[in-house]
């Protein structure tokens, strides 16, 4: 998937959870997601990408902005 397609998928997944997608947002720090919401999001992202994310990639969901996560996932998702 391209970065744009991944960003669009994120947009949909966040919207159904009541969050607003913005490339500069961090999921925990800015959107206030708790660990349960993050788990649910990660599993849905894995479903969209049809692959398991590795442990390093999971850490991106805590540390990085949504734009950075999309870029990483589009590159290889296997950091």
């Amino acid at each position: 998937m391209t970065r744009g397609e991944i960003a669009k998928a994120f947009d949909t997944l966040l919207t159904v959870r009541g969050f607003r997608f913005s490339p500069g947002c961090r999921l925990v720090e800015d959107l206030g997601m708790d660990s349960q919401a993050l788990v649910s999001l990660v599993l849905d992202v894995e479903g969209v990408l049809e692959r398991e994310l590795n442990d390093n990639t999971l850490s991106l969901f805590i540390e990085c902005t949504l734009g950075q996560i999309c870029t990483h996932l589009a590159k290889d998702g296997n950091l």
Partner: protein, 424 residues
């Protein structure tokens, strides 16, 4: 070959041990690059909750230096039994879990948001191998619900409240229910008293944790709830360690934990030989548990099923380290000793109105008997004191505490007992 070696778990183990040696003060003297991953692991000290409790700061990662002092203060703070916390979020967003220690002293362990997320992903990946439709929103937790609260309390003994709880659970149409078997059995007994039975049509899996599961209990729960029982073995400290497949076999969770089974000399026990279960968390960074003594016993067994929810399989043995009477030359199970002792006391004294009993060991020769209000408390206590002294071959002392219903619930949440029984 260790049973977890043939999966991707070794890569996770190597990454985790490198992290630990680089970031956690008490492992700073170990050099990860000079060893193979399993050599490095076996060179690290085996730890238990008493060691960590005494040196919390040394076990907290340097990545969390900014909150370390405040966190240690929270972890060591004494708390009255009726104010005990079980899963609470502290001021820095860290989730604090708490278990009862073998001495009754609570043991608290922190997990960061990232720890919880990575552990949660690992747990759900394993659940999804049992139930392809499993999703976090489809599980109703009676416990381990973190900071989330609802208006329903599964610890309630009020039949009307429990009925409302089950009607609420039914309305959520959850596929999974997470609880403990004793809690569910207690609910069923209470609800049977008002001739009402829960009906959860959407429920497919009943995930039971925290207690050793017997076949008869599994059969009763599966018949009543018309759902498959999944036995989740884990610790508050490291979260889920193993889950049973449809054949009732425990598969280790390869995402979250690396398990060793060690004999009394700390050597790996061969397949089929029982030993102490020692676990290394593969996902926790804030306070990473490495070679942590669980207090449980088990053995690796040959994998005979084709289930994919974990490459290695184990059989758990009933009984924990903390359930053996301390201070003797022989291992005496509190469960066995006091089951017989209480039966004999009831036969000798009549039923005494005994509904709930819990026995803890407060010193080598000192025990506390906690029960509901008894008709003959002094006689009952004296009988148990004589019986226990005779069985252990030394003079021991028993003290009796009466608990009201509210305190029984609080008491029951911890695990610090040699013996516990609810008379039904």
């Amino acid at each position: 070959m260790h049973h977890q070696e043939h999966s991707g778990v070794l890569q996770r183990l190597q990454q985790q041990l490198r992290y630990v040696c680089s970031n956690v003060p008490c492992y700073g003297r170990f050099r990860p690059d000079n060893h193979s991953v399993l050599e490095l692991l076996s060179s690290l000290p085996i730890v238990d909750k008493s060691i960590i409790r005494q040196r919390y700061a040394d076990f907290i990662s340097n990545d969390f230096t900014n909150i370390r002092a405040q966190l240690v203060e929270t972890l060591i703070a004494p708390e009255a039994p009726d104010r005990m916390i079980y899963e609470a979020v502290d001021r820095s967003g860290v989730l604090i879990g708490q278990t009862g220690g073998s001495t009754g002293t609570p043991f608290r362990c922190p997990k960061g948001v990232a720890d919880r997320m990575r552990l949660g992903v690992g747990i759900w990946r394993q659940r999804a191998m049992i139930d392809a439709s499993a999703e976090p929103g489809q599980l109703y937790p009676f416990l381990h619900h973190g900071a989330r609260t609802t208006r329903f309390d599964p610890d309630s003994n009020d039949p009307a409240h429990l009925r409302a709880l089950y009607e609420h659970v039914a309305a959520t149409q959850c596929r999974w229910l997470h609880a403990t078997a004793p809690m569910l059995l207690r609910h069923l007994d209470i609800l049977q008293g008002v001739k009402w039975r829960p009906s959860l049509p959407a429920l497919r899996f009943l995930e039971c944790s925290s207690y050793f599961m017997k076949e008869t209990t599994i059969d009763k729960l599966e018949d009543t709830f018309m759902a498959k029982v999944v036995d989740q073995y884990g610790l508050m400290e490291t979260s889920v360690i193993a889950l049973t497949c449809e054949h009732g076999v425990h598969h280790l969770n390869d995402y979250n934990t690396y398990v060793e089974i060690l004999d009394d000399e700390d050597r790996p026990a061969p397949v089929g030989v029982a030993g102490r279960i020692v676990v290394t968390s593969l996902q926790q960074r804030l306070l990473p548990f490495v070679r942590y003594v669980t207090g449980d016993y088990g053995m690796f067994i040959e994998k005979t099923c084709s289930c994919k929810l974990g490459a290695a399989t184990i059989r758990l043995l009933e009984g924990r380290e903390s359930e053996f009477v301390a201070g003797g030359t022989q291992r005496v199970s509190g469960k066995v000793l006091f089951q017989h002792g209480i039966s004999k006391a009831l036969m000798s004294l009549g039923n005494c109105n005994l509904k709930y009993v819990r026995i803890i060991q407060t010193g080598v020769d000192e025990f506390v008997l906690r029960t509901n209000s008894l008709s003959e408390p002094d006689q009952f206590c004296a009988f148990l004191q004589r019986y226990t002294s005779s069985e252990l071959g030394r003079t021991v002392c028993f003290r009796h505490d009466t608990l009201d219903d509210e305190h029984i619930i609080v008491e029951d949440r911890g695990k610090s007992w040699l013996f516990r029984k609810e008379m039904v």
